[in-house]
């Protein structure tokens, strides 16, 4: 297949991919919803389609981050404040996990993991915000 060099066609191609992506997403959600209605939520969440849906949305959010940062021109937060918020989120998640029946260690692990993920994401967001502020 010949590589498209025409900028207008590249843009059009991207728009077509966006339409296909929306159709694919809607289709996946419908299939998962039907599966959830017929076999229950647990069956639905154990489906590989569910993982694909989650993964693609997480990637979409991560890729959209630099765009929203440029649109809203948010100021970079202080590291200490970000750390405190991350710990807070981790503690709340751990308590929720414990209340819903998980053991102490799994609850603490999931809380810690969530706090770590949140902190890493906030750290990179801060780094990007700083970079855009300097540009």
């Amino acid at each position: 297949m010949k590589k498209i060099k025409d900028e207008r066609l590249i843009l059009r191609n991207l728009k077509n991919i966006r339409i296909a992506y929306v159709i694919q997403m809607v289709g996946m959600i419908i299939v998962l919803a039907l599966e959830g209605r017929e076999n229950g939520v647990e069956e639905m969440t154990s489906s590989p389609l569910w993982i694909v849906l989650l993964l693609s949305n997480v990637i979409l959010i991560l890729l959209s981050m630099p765009i929203s940062l440029q649109v809203y021109e948010s100021k970079p937060e202080k590291l200490g404040k970000m750390g405190m918020i991350s710990i807070g989120i981790g503690v709340v998640a751990a308590i929720l996990a414990y209340v819903s029946g998980a053991g102490i260690i799994p609850s603490a692990l999931s809380g810690g993991l969530l706090a770590l993920i949140f902190f890493v994401i906030s750290y990179f967001t801060r780094k990007l915000a700083k970079k855009y502020q300097e540009e």
Binding site: D6, R8, L9
Partner: protein
Amino acid sequence: MKNNVKLMRMEREINQQDLAKKTGVTRQTISLIEKGKYNPTLKLCLQICYALNTTLDECFWIEEENFDEEN
């Protein structure tokens, strides 16, 4: 957006296909630019200017009072 690409091209007796070849786009894109139905990037504008041996000013400049009418 309105431009002088068609005029410049005709003056130099170059057809759309040749201009498209020189700038690395399709003939349809050149046609749409000439009709004002597609706004090329600055990079493509420059490539068109180089191919037609002209300047951005001559080829794409629009006076401010006309600019509002166009958009």
